[in-house]
């Protein structure tokens, strides 16, 4: 499980923090500080994994991080996640941000905290990896944005019109196009007792 996702800049200023396990407010701040302290000390040519500090919870937990220009992306995970898998997940996350914000920079994260959170929510839900396909995430986000925008535009419109928009569904997502060809089948499932 992913315990927390932290983004902070080279000076340790938090840019995004999302905790999937409950920590008190103070502990959260301490974790951010401690994590920055641990991560910022590391050279460029060392490995991207770190054992968690005391706060984030002992030997079972690991910090997996990547450093992009001014920002550190840190995922705190427990032993049930694959290190390299998470490392690539960070890459997917950043690439997705890049697509959504067209050349993402630290400022985008500051001014669109809510959007970044939304993108993250499409990838990681309740601490578990939900989606790793970049195109899929971008499609979802775009679709939602469009819908929200159209609704916001209709704020002053009569109620009927609004409900018409509301009942509009999300566009069908292309990956389901060849449903017939997806041959993942689970054979011989024994009946559940």
């Amino acid at each position: 499980m992913i315990k927390a996702i932290l983004i902070f800049n080279n000076h340790g200023k938090p840019r995004l923090s999302k905790f999937y396990q409950r920590y008190s407010e103070d502990t959260q701040q301490q974790i951010i500080r401690e994590t920055f302290h641990l991560v910022s000390k590391r050279d460029e040519n060392v490995c991207n994994f770190l054992e968690g500090g005391l706060l984030i919870g002992g030997s079972d937990n690991k910090l997996i991080y990547r450093h992009y220009a001014t920002l550190y992306f840190v995922f705190c995970v427990d032993s049930s996640e694959s290190e390299l898998g998470i490392l690539d997940l960070i890459q997917v996350f950043v690439e997705t941000l890049d697509k959504c914000f067209e050349n993402v920079c630290e400022l985008d994260l500051i001014f669109h905290v809510d959007k970044v959170h939304n993108i993250l929510a499409e990838m990681v839900m309740g601490g578990m990896v939900l989606e790793t396909n970049m195109n899929e995430i971008v499609t979802q986000i775009d679709a939602q944005n469009k819908l929200e925008k159209s609704e916001a535009g209709l704020a002053g419109a009569p109620a009927r019109a609004v409900s018409a928009v509301k009942n509009m569904n999300l566009p069908e997502i292309p990956r389901n196009i060849n449903i017939g060809d997806i041959s993942i089948k689970v054979p011989n499932l024994p009946t559940f007792k």
Binding site: I32, V46, V113, G126, L130, N133, L170, N178, I182
Partner: protein
Amino acid sequence: MSEVVERTLSALPALLGPQLPAGPGPGRPSAGSRLGSLIRSITALTSKHEEEKLIQQEIASLKAMVSAPTTTLRLMKECMVRLIYCEMLGYESSFGYIHAIKLAQQGNLLEKRVGYLAVSLFLHENHELLLLLVNTVVKDLQSTNLVEVCMALTVVSQIFPREMIPAVLPLIEDKLQHSKEIIRRKAVQALYKFYLIAPNQVQHIHDKFRKALCDRDVGVMAASLHIYLEMIKENSSGYKDLTESFVMILKQVVGGKLPIDFNYHSVPAPWLQIQLLRILGLLGKDDPRTSELMYDVLDESLRRAEINHNITYAILFECVQTIYTIHPKSELLEKAAKCIGKFVLSPKINLKYLGLKSLTCVIQQDPNLALQHQMTIIECLDHPDPIIKRETLEILYRITNGQNVTVIVQKMLDYLKESKEEYAIITLSGKVAELAEKYAPDNGWFIQTMNAVFSVGGDALHPDIPNNFLRLLAEGFDDRKEDEQLRTYAVRSYLTLLEEENTFYPQKFLQVMSWVLGEYSSLATDVDPEIILTRLHSLLKKTFVTSDTKAWIMAAVTKIASHTSCSKTIDKLIKEFSSSLDTCMRQHAFELKHLREDRVLMKNLLPFDASCNDMVVDASLSFLDGFVAEGLSRGAAPYKPHHQRQEEKLSQEKALNFEPYGLSFASSVSSSGITGRQSPTGLSFGSDTSGNSAETGHKETNTLKLEGIRKLWGKEGYLPKKESTAGKPDEPQAASCGNLLAGRVIDPPASQSDQVSSLSEEEKEKQQLASTLFVGLGSNAGVSLMGKMDVATQKFKRKSKINETQTSEEASDIQNSAASTFGPLLDTVPVNKEDCEGNKHTRLRKPSLCSSDTLEDNLAFETPQSLKKPGLDDRLSDSTLSPLSLFADGNIEILQPSPSALCESANKTLSVPSLPKELEELPHSEVVELCQSDALALYLCKVWKDDSLLLAVFASNKKSSALNTVNLVFEKAEHFQILESPAHQFSVIEAQSVERCQKCVWMDKICTQGILPGSISYQSEMEPCLEFSVTLSLLDFIRPMEMTTEDFGKLWLSLSNDVKQNIKMSPSQDSLSTALSTLQQKLKLHIVDIIGNEGILACRLLPSVPCLLHCRTYSGMLALWFRSPCSALSDGLLYQCQKVMEES
């Protein structure tokens, strides 16, 4: 990718200038204007203090705006974003929480989304405001707008109050059939969350999980794997039937059957593969048959993962882990080993790390692998990355043995000295201490190493380390001389350490020193006690010594004082501290003063080296009998056990509650004993002059007792390992040669150089290091190195052999002494005194349980016991209700062994085990067979006693000769508690006869069904140990609870954990009364009252956790409403109810 984030904060002022209020993104202007100005001012600040001031201002203005009635939702949304920013910086803004919930409730899509986001960032699962969100979530789940449903599902999987799950569960279950895959996927994820926080509540939808696993969309299937991974982790045996399906899925994924969309860097669905491999690993663990199914696909995965990309390595790594977890197959192991090699040798540091990590995992299975990579491991020891270094040390830790311990411990201590991370220090110093205890070659080394651990580890050190160390010194070994040498060595080394005036030592180290000096300083006969006392005295005056440590030091001084006649230092010390402002020290000083006046008492109180002599503790407190009798004769109320009091409290109305500390009764006796022993000084002169308890009191307090302390590295812990090494036939030779090698590294002789001159200095050093580190590994005790290194070690070996002949005597001497020092230590498991006593105690108290005598005999036995407490007699006869009145409702199904079963088993040669009369009358299950071997058969019968579940285990000897010392042990199970000791010993079972033992069990942690494993062993050449397991269900521990309707009402109001559920009634049980009697019969609930279409029932979980049930029928539905102080109990009973109602 690094260019992605190239605009940095340096660009900020320009971007935020007045002419450019916002960046390129849409929607920025309005939000940007305020948030932007906030951020601009923050970045302009220079100190934390200014930032705080600014944010406080911001929060104040937000507070005003948020609560102003004119604030529109749109504005509110902006406020929320700013609040999120403030919270992220660590400033509390709880005033906005309620508005976030409101926004989620009322806003349009965009605002709602921000509202939900704010809620999930601000609140936690147990926050009271969260209840206000439930309605919104329910509404949104029912919305026709997909975005709203998605948002609701997301927030549910992030935070949701546990007790409100039933409100949304049916809605989410419905979503599993939704036409959109994204909704189905999120619903599965939400159910996963529910499974984590309340597994009992989703028990009934396990078949829906299966459906999700078979979903036509891969995303949904992948999401369901999270749940399966979790469930299989908990209980792998329940899902073996799915192995084939998982294998099939993996095969298809690996085979590229997925749409190209799922590819990541042209690897098909890598994260899905990783997940599946993990599941397979769990399923195949220790199960050859299941493992068989997955060999092919694992092979295929290994083969396919060949592209040189990060993510393929992730899959490879997972494959390797799985291959080593499941039942081994040599072919695959070979490939996996090759893979590990690739990782370890990789220039990429991440891969190297993972390679080392997998080496750590597999090294015990396959030590040869470590030999192959020993040079890499040596290189990694000097790696600039501390993480790599630490992982390397972890490998070394796992391969440590008696021969390489000095080198490895040295490496670890070197690392410790450099490290500054507290966490690393704690774990590593623990390991060093463990290794030192296990493998120390001699006394001097051991003490020195422990000194290093104590000084480097400081006060962060795990408390077990000093405790274990002291116990080791105190308990000693078989050889008295050895003991004394070790202790004397410790005393001397501490005196030398204390000689240096201005050195700082951690508190724990000082405490250890003072204890040892106090206890054993007299062993160093040539040292004047006056010197020791002076040292201790000067310590007492140091400012860095805490008062805790001072108490230890004072205790040491007192102990030394007991065997020195007169000492100036002590006089001085007493004088000095008699007027100390520290009351504790003053107390100690006075005690010392008075004790010195009575030397005989002092000698008795502080005997030499008695710290681990067993004390006789009269646990039955029989010396108080006179006092009790006197009290009773004066009309005091007789003592009632705890559960009885609890019951009476529930069943009778009492005007006043006279029972203090009711709940802590069970452990109070033992815990007080333990705290007494653990007092840091090992000394306490409390009320030692009071009457007849004085003697016990003295004995109890004058010693340091460590039995209460958890034995982390106790002898039992590493016993098996020791045995396995001892099993090697060629050990002694290898061992002595190892000693020589070890000596060499510390002091490399020059004569070595000409023999290996062909290699460079550095290389040579490394190889020496390698040979010392990896000595004793692998099957052929010698060191097998690869390639050219082979030559060097050959020489090395030969050389060492020559040496060996010269010094063989000496070496074997060392070896012997080491073995005698540490060998017995490993084997002598001290008899756990408490356990032992507990056994005796039960045997005394319940003679009937252990003997298979007749009832009359038992009565005869019992009389003295009852005579002892005549006052209790009435009470006893009251409480030992006639067995049948237990289930007074009469119509509860009581299983009696059917006559046919009796006949059948009677046909067997052996006598059928049957319950003795007094148990036969209680409700009980059939006698079932647990396990069999050639010599022994075990049968089990569950007896549902009123106060516990009694497991009667029959051991029947099938042989024609008697079996001696048959040991029956129940293992510790998470969910169950065995009331007395979990073990039972039959001293002898006569030929062809049956012996019986009884254990009373409670359920400690509630579960619907659990397994209590156990084993029975007896002295025989063949299969000396039989394993068995007893399945216990929650219902075994449920008893009816009788009460009046009034009591029910009162209790109902005092309980808070609600669980409600509606279940359909089948036509056969259409009326309330039939439904209730089903519940009564099957679940042993007590029907309190039935009024109209409502009924109330009560039961308790042993010993006395009540659970109340309120039932109501309406239109073919039965509404169940449980209340209990323990929510898991309600959940469990609900599940049982559902099952029962479905069955009938």
